[in-house]
Symmetry: C2
Subunit: 714 residues, 2 copies
Amino acid sequence: MILKVVISVVCAVSVLTVGILIGHFGIDKGSSAPSWVNDVAKDVDEALIEKFLSEVDNMQIQENLRELTKVPHMATTPGDEQTVKLMLERWRDPETGLDDAWREEYMVYLSFPDTKNPNKVTVVSPSDTVIYTAREKEKPYTADQDDPEVVQPYAAYSPPGNPKGKLVYANQGKPSDYQELNKTVDLRGTIAITRYGGAGRAAKAINAAPYGVIGVLVYTDPLDINDGLMSDINETYPHSWYLPPSGVERGGFSTHYGDLRTPYLAAKGNHTDFAVVFLLCLHELGGEAAPADWQGAFNCSYNIGGPGFKQTSAFNSSDVKLETFNHGELKNSSNVMGVIRGSVEPDRYVIYGNHRDSWVHGAIDPSSGTSVMLELTRVLGKMVKQGKWRPRRSIIFGSWGAEEFGLIGSAEYTEQYFTKLSERTVAYINVDIAVFGKKPFLPPRSRHPMPCNSLSHLDRCPGMESTSVYDNWIKYSNWTSPEHGLIPKMGHLTGAGSDYAAFVHYLGITAMDISYTYDRSKTNARIYPAYHTAYDTFDYASKYIDPGFFSHQAVARTAGNVLIRLADSLVLPLNCSDYAELLEMYLSRAVDLYQTDLCLISEPLKSAVASFRSAASHLDQMILSSDLVRRINDQLMLLDRAFLDPLAFPDKYAFRHVIWTSSSAGMSTFPGLADAFAKAESSGQSSDWDKVHYHLSVLSQNIAGAANTLVDVI
Amino acid sequence: MILKVVISVVCAVSVLTVGILIGHFGIDKGSSAPSWVNDVAKDVDEALIEKFLSEVDNMQIQENLRELTKVPHMATTPGDEQTVKLMLERWRDPETGLDDAWREEYMVYLSFPDTKNPNKVTVVSPSDTVIYTAREKEKPYTADQDDPEVVQPYAAYSPPGNPKGKLVYANQGKPSDYQELNKTVDLRGTIAITRYGGAGRAAKAINAAPYGVIGVLVYTDPLDINDGLMSDINETYPHSWYLPPSGVERGGFSTHYGDLRTPYLAAKGNHTDFAVVFLLCLHELGGEAAPADWQGAFNCSYNIGGPGFKQTSAFNSSDVKLETFNHGELKNSSNVMGVIRGSVEPDRYVIYGNHRDSWVHGAIDPSSGTSVMLELTRVLGKMVKQGKWRPRRSIIFGSWGAEEFGLIGSAEYTEQYFTKLSERTVAYINVDIAVFGKKPFLPPRSRHPMPCNSLSHLDRCPGMESTSVYDNWIKYSNWTSPEHGLIPKMGHLTGAGSDYAAFVHYLGITAMDISYTYDRSKTNARIYPAYHTAYDTFDYASKYIDPGFFSHQAVARTAGNVLIRLADSLVLPLNCSDYAELLEMYLSRAVDLYQTDLCLISEPLKSAVASFRSAASHLDQMILSSDLVRRINDQLMLLDRAFLDPLAFPDKYAFRHVIWTSSSAGMSTFPGLADAFAKAESSGQSSDWDKVHYHLSVLSQNIAGAANTLVDVI
């Protein structure tokens, strides 16, 4: 998973439609009807779901994970090919496999370090003598880290180069960080050191470039991942889930997702000059102490000023030099695809996916998700092979390649099958990192407005056997919806953090990302500490993330439950009134934020949101009274597509969804409007204000257009 | 109708699928099934079509036309409002109306001349004394031309201004014309006079601008419209269908269709400086005789050189001055919409439309089409009101406003209802100018690959009662298809000549444009001579275009026949194998034209076309064997959408269809490829060759993507 830490306000857009579906579809199912009438009219079978839940086996998931993590499986390496074969073998199993499974290959542009010339970070004297060299590899604690296939920590897509300059601490590399720094420090020709968090990887360099910074180092501060702990004698892995001092988070530093060589089809990617950091002590930096919220957990003052090292330091007047020998390579990357064909509506797809490639062994990212997917397909496949079940709609499984390099496998898939997927896909479910957390197992983290009625009381919460997943979720994370009262809280899929991105943002397909997470009130860890390091191994996962694999089991049950309901429900379990609730919340927030400036202009927007609400209520009524199921399902399935506007964000690659696009303004309101407003307010330029008005028009038109798809079809 | 005279090679993509549908859908329709099963399984009813054909009344059409053309009804004028009310009254008639009818208003930007300061063309001496003033209005022959509401002939959207310069004859104002002229004449500061034809209206000015031409006059040469005749004593209207000498073709000169103020939503239109011509004698032009194909029918040599008048002319050293006082106005323009709700698939739309606004009385353009539409809705409406019929799918009728100003009503409609129409529209039928020709009534002119199986042997050809429309068509205009043998020839809807444009190019909806035309071997008339003039009246239409209105009747029958089949057929009468045939023809032509340059590159394109063919054949088989009708119909309905690519033509406003987009290269092959190739070949620049390769990729991806929508759904 690519973790993009952007502040995102969480809002529940949950759904409880099960009740209203009961008794729906008043077709006479008696013996006088032809047999296909009964098939056509068949709704989801609760007994079957119970059977599915009971068969999901935690030990199978554990063994899947063991198998998947035997060797490092970075995209397109021999280890990756081994996992391709494993997936194909499982999905082709005559007793527990799918109807069909195959591989789809793409020739993609990846970026690798040079094994003969490892990337380096050094401190050099004015005469270019090396005074200090940062560690090039992580320290081994188990045999896993000693595998020769462990890739050196590096910043993929950083171009080769050897910038040299005075070191400057730039906090998280956000625009505001460089802006602040630039007030007192001449950043031209410097090397910035930034900590992970606060801004996406590539953004840390893109934000630096305007100030003349020539290289950017990124490191993980113990404050952000280890609750300040850093001794490998007793505090960090293998003694706990915390990251050992030499751990380095790898990552892709490209500017947009998908294959850089073929954006949509043709343009070329561009990169800024930067390289990954190896843990470099900040003790020696000159200048004054940075503000409190810039301080990390190392036992020293994080200074800003200089630039460069303290006069009292042995490094005084030294530069920091980054030597990067990355090279690009065209490689064959595989998606593994599997399918269970639908009986009544084979041309409607529910897609379930996860990436297969990791940076190293990737026990958690992504193999926790892959283990869950394999268990889920085993249970479903067996039911199909035994003739006990065939879904109403088709289910497509995708094991994506090269996600770590920028969601490449899934993005290329959506480009290749653009029209077909746009027309037919009911929903996309993503389970990448299945379990983020160590015990106690807190609520599943589920993002995007897809119904969670399926997260019903049927399933038990791991570690809390008397409590259902649903009850546990609502207890720890809830929201009071004007429509439904107290319901579980869900996040939004606004960024491009995993393979849901191309489905949501490019195709406008309703999507959900499911995982179990940890209690964030108990730790400051940005993410599980071994993320993207050589310590993300089976040993780590089974000892510190999910001993017994009960949380994995719960995720498999939850995801499968959602999947079966999406595939089998007569009327799709998607609720458009919840969308209305979200739009109303966005609108009310926009009014609060921008009313004084936009009081007149927002009338069409208000009226568009109001017509959406009324159309949504109307469709709810229709669902109760109509037998035109396919028609209603089309309305529900295509609702998100109505919010796509290829012209809304000309500067954002493949972002077209006017409600879910990523936003840097950090406001829980319409993202395009919020960003345009922030820009106009800061620049005061009339062309920027024109863009604010443009976004108001785009929103009004798209929301009204979406409402038009929900009212009476004619 | 906006007539854009672009050379378009005609190719038949006709369809004869009736046979294979007979016997389809093997549902047991016996008494044991619920009654809705019979409704769902009902196919088109041939007896009902016969009844429809027999009820279409030529005299009703004549009376419709008389009513519609009482007064001039230019967009948004009181005359236009009168036609709005007429449409609403007819469509709301309790005995012969539709289920519902309403008006939809748009605030659009139109361009009008100033009634107090009429536009002028004068010849002025060096001291600015007016030596000659061109006629400002057309000469009246009947009371119609004396109506105070007759708008002065003008070039809509020409900006106000008064350029003055030496006159130069520039043939048709094509790029090649100015290029040729520029070899011997310094065009800077000149006024170019061009004849209609060869290039679109706005193009004549856009093409001139790079050479420094400051004003463009456009006139109708008697050669191109009157077979050389020009005496109003006995040769032209009211003595024949030919255009009187003072007739001027009005027109919109905007650069793209739709409301200029709101392209997609926000950008602004731009115009080049030019004005409409009034007939100005070419006798006096200096220089040498232009090439033979530049000569018109006036009794003089069409000279190029100078610039300016002959030394022997009284105009010697005089300039030509254009004074334009056009002004833009925001006006409320109405579409009138009507609907017959579908019984089984109300969420599938067949749309039938025509514009309502004319330049003057518009008897032919557009009221011939509106009269046909009113008769067609009368007959269908009566069947509905009497409970004798309800179509399987919904039928939407659109009477568009402000077409003459740039297809504005239909374009705004497609923008407003973009998603809904994209998702649900089965096909669009356009009947604008219903009858172009005087007797003998030759084949209907039908464009775009929509099935003409409905143009069956049932209907008699007007004036040739022993011959069917179909047989007459195939006799006069045919093509030997590798698939079907000898079939009627159809044109392609590649331009933006009428309201089909936004449906085809922007929404990717299968469309058809139907009309009766005249025998082009018997006249050189570019179009019917009274086109866009004050002579296009009921008197003219009923005397010289279609006395007795039998051709109108035939068009109403033909269009209604197609409409009912699209609305009622169980499986949509659209044939994807014909699309394959077209793609193969395009491909073979591309290979002929570009093979030497692109021999390697075209492999993916060849393979994409081959997979399309194989997928199409496969779907043909499926249609014979499957009961999943809705699924197949979705595949057929959405096929054209698969060819939409919003990124394919970034410079062409609202053109997104990679097969049907307009092309200036004049090759009967893939339009984007042909244009890119022509440009690259002429410039030799590598960036232009990159675009050729880009278009190859776009085509390969889109055709392969379309093939993917036709193969087994999963």
